[in-house]
Each structure stands twice: as C-alpha cells, then as structure tokens.
C-alpha cells in the first residue's frame, strides 16, 4: 500500500516535467520558424535594429507578462493589468506635466499605487474566497475609471529629465540607440522572474499552490502570504509596465492598454504556461512575447495587412496552443512514458534490494 502511494507521487512529478517541456519547446520552434521565414521573405529582417526593436516595442507587454506568468502558475488570473497601464501612463503624465513633479518621484508613486492595488486584490481573493477573475475585473474597471478621472485628454510629456531617461540605452549603432531603457527594464524583469521562480522558496511555493492548493495548505506552505504576494508582484509589474509604456509613448492617455490583458495572457499561454496552473516558465513567456512581437513585425514588413490581422493571428495562435495544452493534459502518452520510466526505476530498486538481501 505504502509503496503504491509513493509510486503515484513520483509518477505525477514525472508527468508534470514532461507536460511542462513540450509547450515551451514548441514555442521556441515557432519563434525560430517565424524568424527564419521573416528573414527569407523580407530584406533587412535579420538586422540588429529589428532584433533590438523586438525588445523595445514589446517591453511593456513583456514586463506585464512576467507578473502574469507567476499569477497564472499560481492558478489565478489578473485581468487588471491593461487598466493599470492606462492609469499609470495618465498619472505620470499628469504629475510630471500638470503638477510639475519630479518624474522619478512620480514613477515611484505609481509603483507604490500598483503594488498596493495588487496586494489589496490578492487579499480579497484569498481572504474572502472571491474568484480571481471577478476581483481583478473590478480592478480593471476601477483603474480605467481612475485613469479617466485623472485626465480625459492625452497629455504629452515634455519634461527633459523624463525624455533623457527614456533615451538611455545599452549602446549606439549607426546613430541609433539600441536596447534603450524600456528594453533593459524588460530584460531585467525577465531575469528577476527567472530567479524568483527557480531559485527562491517563493517561486517553489507558487508552483505548489498552482499544482494543488489544498495540498500546499496541508504541506504547511504559507499559501495566503504567497498568493497575496503574487498579486502584489503582478500589480508592481503592471505599474512598471505602465512606466515602460510611458517611456514608449512619451505621453499619457487614459485609453492606453485597452485589451492589453488579453495580449498578455496570450503571450503567457503561447509561452507554454498551463492555464490550469502549476506548470510553466518565465523563459517561455519571454519567447511568447517575442512571438507576438515577431508577428507584428512581419505584418509591418509586409505592409499590406492591416492591424486587425494581428488580432486574428493572435487569436488563432492562442487557439492552437490551448488545443495543444488540452491535448497534452488529456492524452496519456506522457502517462505511459512516465509509467515506463517508473517501472524501470522500480525494477532497478527491486534488483538493488534483492542484492542487498542476498548479501
């Protein structure tokens, strides 16, 4: 009896490991395919400028996606991210231009607001057992409304310090700044996400909660604290994404980021994170964001297809990946594989036992 239970647990572990790997591998495959196809069809596609722009144009998406990945791995969802972007944009522009505040202070304030809002949402989700999509939906309403409250009109930012900050880059090439501030923040957040999810207790707890919350409670993990922190981190990422978006737009506009939450979720899913929670990688999300960016770049290079094709392509890609995920979770290919591995291990263990008994 005892033996059987142990075998089952190990088997699950094995299954998850394989289930995790297939989607991320297919995402990388799609990324390479798109990149090569784009390069073969269009001149100048392989240039460093295009590659740098991939990180620049999608920086805000990437920053949001890091937070969203952790939320989805924990088994939740955060629909408020797009609105927080809109709010942060307008808020910073308003403070800097209308109130003449120091941009650094304005950014700091907006980060504080984003994190506080995330914490509050996490608190409501965990302590009152409200569904995550409902609470974050309310957050979505609230921040969009607050953004309008701050300013109904677009505010251009002319503050010199702010513009200088947005122009700081990694290096210059042919008179152009490559990897400017926005993309550096993006890359830093991805690295931070990787570090937290793989090398910190916090990350491991997130995976455990996403895999099975009751088990995580029984294991004595700090479920409540972790869940609240995940939403707080997502709120922080949203505010930071808003800052990056403000760098990008150089203005504040209350309608910024409408529908962004869907692009972010699409990027996370295409990056191979399982929507049921418990499995996924920040690295995959990076690939997912870059795939969305590549589609956009290819459409731009082609020039004849309009923006709505972007939505349709994303929808299609999302559909394919979700189908892949569903098939992976349902099909028993990996179960069989894992059982075989387990059998081998059991046999080996038996052999070892027998030899030890003989001696």
């Amino acid at each position: 009896m005892e033996n059987k239970k142990g075998a089952g647990m190990k088997l699950n572990l094995n299954l998850n490991l394989t289930k995790k790997n297939i989607p991320i591998l297919s995402s990388i495959g799609i990324f390479l395919l798109l990149y090569v196809v784009g390069g073969l069809f269009f001149n100048g596609f392989f240039s460093i400028g295009v590659f740098s722009n991939l990180f620049y144009d999608n920086a805000f998406l990437g920053v949001l996606a890091v937070g969203m990945t952790l939320v989805i791995i924990s088994g939740g969802i955060d629909l408020s991210v797009g609105s927080v972007i809109g709010f942060t944009c307008t808020f910073i522009a308003y403070l800097v231009e209308v109130k003449q505040m120091n941009p650094v202070l304005a950014m700091f304030l907006s980060l504080v607001i984003g994190t506080t809002a995330g914490t509050l949402m996490g608190f409501l989700i965990h302590n009152f057992k409200l569904p995550a999509f409902l609470v974050t939906l309310v957050g979505m309403f609230l921040f969009r409304g607050l953004a309008y409250q701050v300013s109904l009109e677009s505010i251009p930012i002319r503050n010199e310090l702010f513009l200088e900050m947005s122009q700081v880059g990694l290096f210059e090439y042919n008179g152009r700044t490559l990897f400017p501030m926005a993309s550096l923040i993006f890359i830093f957040m991805v690295m931070l996400g990787v570090y937290m999810s793989h090398f910190r207790k916090f990350g491991r707890n997130i995976y455990a909660i996403g895999g099975s919350e009751p088990s995580a409670v029984l294991m004595g993990l700090p479920v409540g604290r972790t869940k609240i922190m995940v939403y707080a981190f997502s709120g922080f990422c949203s505010a930071l994404g808003g800052i990056v978006y403000t760098f990008y737009l150089q203005s504040g506009y209350a309608l910024a980021g409408v529908g962004m939450e869907l692009n972010v979720i699409a990027a996370v899913v295409i990056g191979g994170t399982l929507l049921t929670g418990g499995a996924g990688f920040i690295e995959g999300t990076l690939v997912g964001v870059l795939i969305l960016g590549l589609i956009d770049t290819i459409l731009n290079f082609y020039g004849q297809l309009s923006s709505w094709w972007f939505r349709i392509f994303i929808g299609l890609l999302l559909f394919l990946f979700i189908l892949l995920q569903t098939w992976l979770t349902r099909s028993n290919i990996f179960l069989k594989y894992a059982m075989k591995q387990q059998q081998k291990r059991n046999d080996a263990a038996k052999g070892l036992q027998e030899t030890s008994q003989h001696s």
Partner: protein
Amino acid sequence: MFKNENVRKLLWPAVALLVILLFNVFFTENFLNIEVKDGHLFGSLIDILNRGAPVLIISIGMTLVYATGGIDLSVGSVIAISGAVAAQLIRPGYIHGILEYPDPPTSLFVVIGVPLLICAIAGAWNGVLVAFVGIQPIIATLILMVAGRGIAQLVTEGQIPVFIHEPFQFLGGGFLMGVPFPVIVSILLIAAVYFLTRRTSLGLFIESSGGNPIASRYMGIKSRLIVLSTYVFCALCAGLAGLIICSDIKAADANNAGLFLELDAIAAVIIGGTMWGGRFTLAGSVIGALIIQSITTTILAFGIPPEVTLVFKALVIIIVSLIQSEGIQDAINTWKTKRAQA
C-alpha cells in the same frame, strides 16, 4: 419574512436599485417625470430602460452561461461582429467608396437574419470549445474576444460604415405604442426565456449541468449539449444587442461597439445573485442590469464624464460580491450565533 429563498436572494439587489433610484429622486431634477411627446414616452426612467436594453439582453444570455459554470467574455466582440455584418449588408460598397445602396434595398429579414446566424456560429464555436474540447470557459471565450474584434474590423475594413435603412432603424430607435422598441424586445426576450427555463424543465437541466456535469450526465441529461446551447443563446443575445446598438447609432463601429459591455453583463449577473455553476435567477439579472444602467444614467445626470462611471460600477460590484462572499457570510453567522448565545 422573506422565508422564500428566491425572494430573499433578490432582496439586496432590489434594495440597492431602490437606493440608487431614491438618490436620483432627491438629487436629479424631474427624475420621475415621464412625458408624452408626439405619442412617445420620454423621461429618465424610460431612458434607463431604453439605454439599458442591450446590457439587459446580454445579461439574460450571460445568466444561463454563468449558471452552467461558464463565462462568456466574447459578447463584446460578437456585438461588434453583428453590427459590422448588418452595416455591410445594408451598404455593401461603402468600404470601397461606393455610396449607393443596393436596389432594391436589402430586406429586413436578411439584415437581421444573417448577422444573427453568424453570431450563432460564433456561439457554437465557444460552446464546442467549452463543452466538447474541454477548455476552461474564460480562456475559450477569450480567443473569440481577441479575434472577434479583428474579424469585425476585417468585415468593415477598419472603417465605420454609416447607413439609412428605415425598417432596420426601427429596431433600435423606433417606438411601439409610445414605448421604445428595444424595451419591448427585451421584455419579450425575458418573457420567452422565463417561460422556457422556469415553465419547462430546461432551467433545471441548465442548473444541474452547472452544478455537477458528470452527475447530470449519469441522470440522462445531455449536459454537453445544454452547455453548448447556452453559449449559442448567449451569442444570439449579444448579436441582438449588437443589432440594436448598430441600428440606434445608424453606423457600425467595429472598434468601440460593445467595448466593456461584457463586463457590464457579468456585473449584472453577479449582482443579481446567480451562482457560478448552479442556481440562476433571471429577475436578479434584470435588476442587476438596471442597477448598472441606473448608475450610468445617474452619473451622466450629474455631469461627470461617462468614463468615470467605471469607478462606481467597480465599487458596486465589489461591495455586492463581498456581501455575498463566504468570508462575510461566515462572519455574520458567527456574530448571529454569538448574539443568540448571549
């Protein structure tokens, strides 16, 4: 008092609606006035019903989906699709710069029938993904939410076709016996759905499919088919709402038609007290939709920018769902027992 569970559930939403209306009676001028101009009814109350008709219609469809343990995020995009298709049918050459209408003008039957058919297909797509493929509803309908607006823009090629079509305009802007036609449409729809779900066993089937799909299947209920049909019905409702909006503004705006409307509908259903996967209440959703619309109208009457209504809607939703949440209910119950012991 209020022993009946159904009545008790409706109490808080009804009180909330009354409070909002009372607030208006005191602070908005001529709120209760209903005038008859040219044989048409006018007034703030009529306006709430008229402007609220699309939200009301969608929230009826959403109620059924919500009761099966699902959610339909794609209604906003379906609204955009149905409006775009209708406008395209009325004025096929508009996007290519041909301003003439086809001769004879497109028949009303086609203008209403074809968009609804397309919406039904969209709903079937959602339903198949949820019920047969087994994808979580939030995600399955997310796909159409992302792609649907793109499809609508594809139909109108990113333009906003404007049109004149007398019979079709009646749907959104007409009056029948003095009452705005959208109001009549929504009342008829509510009556039909009430009859179908509460006077036949269909309603119970939907609730049991939401409560426990596997047990329902063992009982002989075709729960997958029922879930599928709720999604088709919800998309049809969205399509109808889209036609009303499109016919009211005499144009199809693929970018903005129905934007955020899915949230209004979900809010209306939640405020009304329908359970996620379980008992649903049509009356509750109707009250919920009226609450949402009254908030919007109130704020407009106060001259606050309409966009800011989102803040108030958010606050109302979170307060109502907090009152209904387990945590608060537990706290109230323990407080009650403690008081009884003391």
